[in-house]
């Protein structure tokens, strides 16, 4: 059984149904990406998985546990970290406090090695530990959001548009970091509009359109697929 299995997921907000019956699976140790245009239902899928919104129908199974009715903080305790769209930095908490919030649900209080690891990945954060999170630049906030998620030592990391608003150089750094996070044992479900980069690092990918999966395959396969290249990689 896959680490995360989503089956027949329907979810949305008010009168809008953004996700209309999605099936997907993420195996332990994989990087899986969801690509698709704005409004395809990518973020809504992540939000339904991590419990921020309640699915209207369908099942979400994580490590053998059903999540559809579980409160988000309980899902975090099972080992899932969600870096939401917009990064979710606490602007009035210091950078250091933001990192501690990442480890909030951990039973052990031995955080030093995890902090060291975050400082190694993102040396910039170490220089800014005392600053309020809101004073960081967009790129630094993204680093903090990912570093904070790692503090939870998640089995599964959900990343929503980590490249949004970042310079190409920073995007490279972030994607290299995602790969190294996976190599250190975590599983990653990545939502991206930057399909080119996402397909490059992903083991497998799903293409979403209007709330449904229209295509799936390995990152490599989809990267070669003509319809994908036309629609998402900007080729004619």
């Amino acid at each position: 059984m896959a680490l995360l299995e989503v089956s027949g997921l329907i979810a949305g907000y008010g009168a809008i149904t953004a996700v209309k019956g999605i099936d997907l699976a993420v195996e332990e140790g994989e990087i899986v990406t969801l690509i698709g245009s704005n409004g395809a239902g990518k973020s809504t899928t992540l939000r339904a998985v991590s419990g921020i919104i309640r699915p209207r129908a369908g099942t979400v199974t994580f490590g053998g546990r059903r999540l559809e009715r579980m409160a988000p903080h309980r899902i975090v305790q099972l080992g899932m970290s969600h870096v939401p769209e917009g990064r979710g930095i606490f602007h009035r908490l210091s950078v250091y406090e933001n990192l501690l919030m990442g480890a909030y649900q951990r039973k052990d209080r031995d955080l030093d090695s995890d902090l060291q690891r975050v400082y190694e990945l993102f040396p910039r954060l170490k220089e800014r530990l005392g600053q309020p999170g809101g004073t960081l630049s967009g790129g630094e906030q993204q680093m903090l959001a990912i570093g904070r998620a790692l503090m939870a030592r998640p089995r599964l990391l959900l990343l929503d548009e980590p490249s949004m608003g970042l310079s190409p150089l920073l995007v490279e750094t972030i994607f290299a970091t995602i790969t190294s996070i996976r190599d250190q044992g975590a599983t990653v479900l990545l939502v991206e509009q930057n399909a080119l980069m996402a397909l490059e690092i992903a083991d497998r990918a799903y293409v979403l359109e209007s709330g449904q999966v229209t295509l799936k395959g390995t990152g490599e396969e989809l990267g070669r697929d003509d319809s994908v290249r036309r629609a998402y990689l900007g080729e004619e």
Binding site: G51, H73, G102
Partner: protein, 322 residues
């Protein structure tokens, strides 16, 4: 201060220092109660209008404990012990009340239009007030007269023991709260929920439990204020929560509702405005404002603040919700 009759001022150092101490005393109580308003507003953006009754219940709990432990017969070292027990008991009763009220009167309305929890809060306030009035036959109760009388001089100030105790324990509670909010894991969770509840839950924070803790902490402050009020003024009654409650609310708005330092600053500012401020106005020719005018001053201040600086002294920055 050219309008003030300077020779008169110079001649009555004792009078002014007394007013200063009175300001500190009243201000301490306002500040303690205001903390509950500001913290609840910080996480729920809601004015908890039953908070004055939580203060009143704390005062009655302290009264019940002091009476049960011997009332006026308490003496010697037992005075300190019973007062400590009364303070702890009052904190527990106030906190318990606030937790129950949150659960049954506010949480079900969490996603309702903003007017609904406000009206619910007013309903709870009236319910608690009349419950106690009913149980006490609307009569006043009198705190046992056990606190040592007397005063001592500190420079120009003449401070009674009870005032010293009131001011010192208020400040101690504020420091205690500050340390919890700024230095503990629970405090971080409270600040995170205040800023963005959804993001806090993604960190593994149980938002509902954290909101209960906010009510509990604020109520504990109000419970202490209730006992201190009882020890100082001695007379307590079921309706006693209304005015200090609404004054403390004024103090919280004055300081910038949602801000913890603001509630403290607003509490003391209001305390001084009512005492020192009123007497300073009396220095103007033809002005003679009696004690009842303190309420007029307090609420004039509220209106002025709402008109000219609705964000208060310590304006809370608008929360950015990612």
């Amino acid at each position: 201060m050219p309008l003030v009759d300077a020779p008169h001022l110079a001649l009555s150092v004792g009078f002014w220092s007394d007013q200063f101490v009175n300001g500190l005393t009243t201000g301490s109580l306002y500040a303690l109660i205001a903390l509950g308003y500001t913290m609840v507003y910080g996480v729920l953006k809601m004015i908890n209008f039953s908070h004055g009754e939580v203060f009143m219940l704390g005062s009655f709990a302290g009264y019940g404990i002091l009476t049960a432990m011997g009332g006026n017969d308490i003496s010697g070292v037992m005075v300190a012990v019973t007062i400590l027990v009364a303070l702890i008991g009052a904190m527990a009763v106030s906190a318990g009340t606030a937790a129950v009220v949150e659960r049954i009167a506010y949480r079900p309305l969490r996603n309702a239009p903003r007017l609904a929890p406000l009206i619910s809060a007013i309903g709870v306030s009236i319910f608690l007030q009349y419950l106690v009035l009913d149980q006490t036959d609307a009569r006043a109760k009198f705190y046992p007269d056990i606190f040592p009388r007397g005063d001592f001089a500190a420079g120009p100030f003449d401070i009674t023991y009870i005032q010293t105790f009131l001011i010192a324990s208020s400040l101690a509670m504020m420091v205690f709260l500050y340390v919890i909010i700024q230095r503990t894991r629970m405090g971080r969770a409270i600040r995170a929920v205040a800023e963005n509840p959804a993001n806090a839950s993604l960190m593994g924070v149980d938002v509902n439990r954290t909101i209960v803790m906010v009510f509990v902490l604020g109520a504990a402050m109000a419970g202490v204020a209730g006992v201190l009020h009882g020890l100082f003024f001695q007379t307590i009654r079921g309706s006693m929560g209304f005015l200090p409650g609404i004054k403390a609310f004024t103090a919280a708005v004055l300081g910038g509702i949602g801000s913890i330092p603001g509630a403290v600053a607003g509490g003391y500012a209001l305390g001084f405005a009512e005492t020192v401020g009123r007497e300073l106005l009396n220095e103007l020719p033809g002005v003679d404002l009696g004690n009842q005018w303190r309420d007029v001053i307090a609420f004039s201040l509220l209106v002025t603040i709402l008109v000219f600086r609705p964000t208060g002294i310590f304006a809370e920055r608008a929360t950015s919700r990612a």
